[in-house]
Symmetry: C2
Subunit: 328 residues, 2 copies
């Protein structure tokens, strides 16, 4: 699937588009936004029209990096697009799409599915490029451009590096390969603004979040499996007290993960549809992917999540119990 | 100074050594240790004898990565070495050396000074390689090995990548160049154990430190210059309460730096010789290097420190005042 030839074909079908509508997953993170805007700017740079569709607002920290997308579209406007691309979206349920568009309809269009999640189930009838071994969808775009010997436009470099740095946890996660570093080097050479990315992603924590995290860690941190599991349920009233939007945060779980001796970190919070469970593992010998899938969730082996249909207390007992079995 | 030819010469003088004693700066961080052990393993791999000298213990987190150094030496043992190398040490005052050795004596020996600090004043009479534009001393060693077309031994890869990741803040600081990423790629290819490094450096925070940080941020965080300066004095009794060794920590200041709107972060604490001042800037338009030098300290433009001869209150007033002038 992931041969240089396949990458070339991806570049070709992208370049043969004229007016492109770009989708990504709901609650977009740095890679979803980075690959959406990296692709948009690339297409615009080659004379195409490209529009990013994001339903709703984007996280505060990303507003410094990404601007210029639509959140609504009429049927008439929609009909003017000849090509539709989804980036970084693993399955139809997660797609941030206009209401008027059904997945079945999308699959019958000139729809290009570009993703790096193993088990991607978007299933375009036209073109799919799924590269489970690539650390981020943004890096996958870099690979596509390089395979096609396209010099990456300067305007694409910052969004794409943002995506790469998000999904590799700043080149710390086990998905970081020598190739990943070389692809990041290419983006730096093409003018990616590292200081801007880092200040937005890592050094822009609102003071209310600092206070919120402080109280969360002081009063709600729990351990299981002799300290190898650290977890916390975020009470809705605590988030409200500090005006903290849980959905916005990508780094909260690292507060638990960074503790010495902890192998698996988990956050639980009340979300739409049930109790949201977010899990991270520091050790590939204890993957959280299977646990997420057991609870009908998904993700990667070391970073996964699920939604639990029940109370927070029930979720905590059920998931901690399942995680603890990994250490038995 | 930093031509490929000069790098080659450095490789040559290192290879012409037989029995090498390696020094680095006091209170060694990941780059000091990474370059010391990277060099030691390289020399041993080519059949030489190499010993790392560190006066005292190394930080807890580094004990998982680095072992096997000496902290004492007799005159007799000392006399058996033909070559002396210092890595990552900018000036004689900071050198972690045996008491029996004076700087003047060192300068007259076959002493090789390898460093990446601008304004290095070690001044060997034999050989100096100072590359102020290289992000870490560990990366400088990679450059030396590459210039000499030496395949980096696998055993050197993990220490050297540890040093590179420490001094670039995980490839986030402005000293990170495309070359830096490519040199990191080389180390990953040579077998550097990323998961081991990351778990030791970034995911090994003792629980007592978590508690300590929590209380520090809750009770001692202050702001100046309309939120652009964040600072905290660490009361000795707070560190004592949580059995936290301030000297050990390299990441504490990031708690202040990561706050949105903060441009300069500063920590003050009581140390040997006065009040220790540690400063970081997020913006090259507001460098802290000159402020550190004003108070007879040193470091890099965006990461610098000094020791203040006076009370904590006096230090706070004087340094915050000087920093605030940057924003006037």
């Amino acid at each position: 699937m992931n041969s240089p030839n396949r990458m070339l074909q991806a570049a070709k079908v992208l370049q043969e588009s004229e007016k492109v509508l770009i989708f990504t997953h709901q609650r977009p993170d740095g890679d979803a936004l980075g690959s959406s805007f990296g692709l948009k700017y690339f297409l615009e740079n080659t004379g195409k029209t490209a529009v990013v569709f994001i339903p709703g607002a984007i996280p505060h920290r990303h507003t410094k990096l990404f601007a210029g997308f639509i959140s609504e579209i009429t049927q008439e406007e929609f009909n003017t697009f000849d090509t539709f691309v989804s980036v970084d979206c693993a399955n139809p349920d997660r797609l941030g799409k206009p209401e008027l568009l059904s997945i079945d309809e999308l699959r019958q269009k000139r729809y290009i599915n570009i993703d790096h999640h193993k088990g991607n189930s978007m299933e375009s009838g036209f073109f799919n490029l799924v590269s489970g071994e690539t650390a981020s969808c943004s890096e996958l775009l870099v690979k596509i451009f390089c395979a096609a010997k396209i010099e990456i436009p300067e305007i694409c470099a910052t969004p794409l590096l943002t995506g790469m740095m998000t999904d590799t946890g700043c080149f710390r996660f086990s998905n970081t390969s020598a190739d990943t570093m070389r692809n990041a080097a290419i983006l730096l050479e093409r003018g990616a603004e590292l200081e801007k990315i880092v200040n937005a992603l890592f050094f822009s924590k609102p003071l209310n979040q600092v206070r919120f995290e402080n109280e969360l860690m002081r009063d709600h941190l729990k351990f299981a499996a002799e300290g190898r599991i650290a977890y916390a349920f975020i009470p809705p009233e605590l988030a409200k007290k500090y005006d903290f939007n849980i959905k916005e945060d990508e780094g909260l779980i690292d507060l638990l993960r960074e503790i010495d001796g902890v192998v698996i970190a988990m956050l639980l919070y009340t979300g739409p549809g049930g109790i949201k469970i977010s899990m991270r593992s520091k050790d590939s010998a204890f993957p959280v992917g299977p646990v997420a899938r057991f609870f009908n969730g998904g993700g990667h082996e070391l970073a996964a999540g699920a939604t639990f249909d029940g109370s927070a207390g029930e979720a905590e007992i059920a998931v901690v119990d399942k995680l603890a079995q990994l250490f038995e």
